[in-house]
């Protein structure tokens, strides 16, 4: 069964709160799970560390991943997600302030499903988040989960 959670990997407190505010506005705040660095994101997905007790059969519908992260960088997180059988097919959307060509190329090389540039204009940002939620939670279809408990 398709997950209904969205995992946000975001280290900036401002961005985290603003995103949460948007999710509140569109009544999806209960579906949002926030982790604050790359290592925690991997722990959450693979059921290790502080998330060791998590039921890893329940995978999020999509991961919103920032590239600039403390501890483990966004690109490294992406690489490890793709390297693990359980998360190999998990949709990952890069949500970054960077418009650098190099970042785009690396992300897509490592198997990102989408790359979204965070606009400075918060109205635009809000619209972008709404559209992303709508798309990944409602429109997008995934194959049946193959990962084992």
């Amino acid at each position: 069964m398709k997950g209904t959670t969205i995992l946000l990997v975001e280290d900036t407190a401002d961005d985290e709160h603003l995103v949460k505010r948007v999710f509140t506005q569109i009544n999806l705040i209960n579906n949002l799970m926030v982790v604050r660095d790359g290592a925690e994101a991997l722990d959450y997905l693979h059921g290790t560390g502080v998330h060791a007790k998590r039921d890893t059969t329940q995978m999020p519908a999509v991961v919103f991943l920032d590239l600039k992260l403390p501890k483990v960088s966004g690109l490294e997180v992406l690489r490890r997600i793709r390297a693990d059988d359980r998360t190999k097919l998990l949709p990952v959307v890069i949500l970054s302030s960077s418009q650098e060509e190099q970042d785009l190329i690396h992300s897509y090389h490592l198997g990102a499903n989408s790359y979204i540039h965070k606009p400075v204009d918060f109205t635009e940002f809000t619209e972008a988040i709404q559209q992303l939620c709508f798309y990944w939670l409602l429109l997008n279809e995934l194959p049946l989960p193959k990962w084992k408990p």
Binding site: T12, D14, L67, E100, E101, K118, V120
Partner: protein
Amino acid sequence: MRTIATRFLLPFGVVAILFSIFIFRETYVTSQYHANDRIGQQAAMAMEFNLAIREYVSETMHPIVQKIVGKEDYIPEMMSPMFVSQSVFEKVQKRFPGYIVRFISDNPRNPANQASPQELRAIDYFRRNPTVSQKTEQIQINGQRYVAQFKARRMKAECLRCHGDPKDAPAALVKQYGVTGGFHREVGDVAGLDTVAIPVEAVVLAMASETSWKQMIMAMWLAFLFGLIIIAFHLVVSRRLSAMARHIREIAATSEISRMTPLEMDERDEIDVLSVAFDKLFEQLRTMQTSLEQRVQERTADLARANDGLKQEITERQRAEEALRQSEEKFRSIVESSPAAMHFYRLESDSRLVLTGTNPAAERISSGGHQNLVGKTIEEVFPNLRDTQVLELHRKVARGDLGPQAFEMPYKDERVFGFYDVRVFRTGPGIIASILVDITERKQAEQELRAYSHRLALATEAAVMGVWEWDVLANAVTWDDRMFEMYGIPSTETMTYQRWAEMMHAEDVTQVERQLRRAVTEKKAGYFNFRIIRGNDGAVRHIQAAASVIADERGQVTNVVGVNFDITGRKLAEEEIRKLNTELEQRVADRTIQLAAANRELESFAYSVSHDLTAPLRGIDGWSLALMEDYSERLDERARQYLGRIRAETQRMAQLIDDLLKLSRVTRAEMRTNPVDMTGLAESIALRLQEDLPHRQLEFVIQPGLGDQGDERLLRIALTNLLGNAVKFTSKRPAARIEFGLTHVKDRPAYFVRDNGAGFDMAFAKKLFGAFQRMHRASEFPGTGIGLATVQRIIQRHGGRIWAEAQVNQGATFYFTLDEAS
């Protein structure tokens, strides 16, 4: 010569040979006939014996034996005529091998009696001709020729018991041979053939040996007879006739009849009579000849005397004429073949010198020729000599006032041009010859040599070049003054090859001597570099030398000449340059490393800017918006306005960062040069701009067919900025007209983007392409002032140039070129 003997004996011999051939042929034919006859007789005989034996067996022995053995028994050895006759003839064949006697059938009891193809043909023949029962013919058996006699055996009534229906036949017969072979015959049918075949060759060979013996005897007799005839003919006729003929031929050949000796022969036959008659005739001829000769001798003596006087006279005359002719010929040929031009003049009584003749060489020195001037005065021949000393000289020589004259003179008119060696001399009273030798080339060569020497002296002096010459044979070295200066020794010193070699740097001597030796051996010019120790101060100087080898006509090297340059200054300069170059390269390498480091720094700076600088901005914007939305009822109008301003400034800041990053990207991006469709690029950008601003009335005029080399991605950014600017600055015009195309500025192709917009003051044109430089207030035309800086960076990266022309409110034109170098 064909003698009587050959004329007579040849036909005789031919007839004899033909006759012999006829005789041989006749005897051969006769022998063949005899042979055939004999074979026929033998065949008939054999056949008769055969038939007789069979008749005896069938008529006499068969009935008797039948009675003895009973009706049903059959003993072939006694009852079969065939068996008995075959057995008899087998014995005969032992004496006569090859002879064939047998009875055959087309359906025999015994397979040995099966008919051969020839015999089958004979059987067939007899069946078709029932009245004929005998036939003789020549046949081939195994390549041997045979005479064969066939006799047809036709069935009689009494034969049918054994050859008709096998039911009637004796049981023993059937038992022995079966029921097919020899049965089923009818009366009158040809049941078989008696065949007798005699081999022809055996008989013919016997006959031939007999005949050839006879023929040989006959041939010997013929040869003997023919030889006898030849000898007789020779003795009686041929020998004597040829003796007589030899005699007469000798007389005819000598023409001296008196010496002849008469033939000595007895008067015996016609040939002897003929000989004697000849003798008498010769005797008479001898007498007549003697008297005739006497008369001729007398007359001859008279004539000879008269002749001698006449001959002497003629000889003397001829000798005189010949001498004269030779003398004239000699002088004529000298004049005609002389390479020098000759003119002959006669001095008239009115002291005019008239041309009387020229030689061929005179024709060559003038373009029109002098032949047609014969009869004219010397002034007409050489018009430019009129009233000169030269003409006066000619006249004086002609009058005899002066002896022969010689001088050199240049002369020029429309016929003649050159420098001449002139000789004038008198050849008779009032007659002179003037000889002109063309020495123009010699004079020119002299002049050129003088000019060369002068120029060489100038050149060597100017080039600080020393000239040397080495007389190889005399081992003498000649130096000019500059050589002595260069080597720092007094010019009074006597130079030799050894002295020069001593002054050379010890390390260079071996190599230079080897090169010099090679130049001499190969007779080629040589070029060497070496060092010398200068005489006066002991300084080491670098010398560059060239040597040229001069050989005599036999190829022997006589002289070596050449030049020396002191190239020490140049060597030092080269060394200096090399050192500087090395330093420069090192500095370039260092700078490159520094630049690469700076570039990396710039990249990481741009990266953090794009990440870290925008995040807080988004925060400011986000929280402003949150404030406006969440506390809207507590904020008054002015507070909301301020928050709006905060948000607008945040946007501007974001835009600035964005544009700065773009500019930095343009600088850092790797260039990928490919053919670019400039027209297509401009058209696609124009379409996008029009789509983004549907309410604007934009007229784009884009020149078709433009293409260039460049990085399409960067050129798209540049053109987007330029066309975007044009769109922006025409926003106050009701109808915007924007042109893109290629034009020529100062004879060089340049692209241009022209609009009819706001334009700008050319006083600020220099600031136009700097970052953050703006020509208009932001309230009039928004923007960050980075666009044109980006454009300039892109154009510069293509090796091109960008500039603009404008007037306030008159529109602006931006020109740019790509790759100025090409």
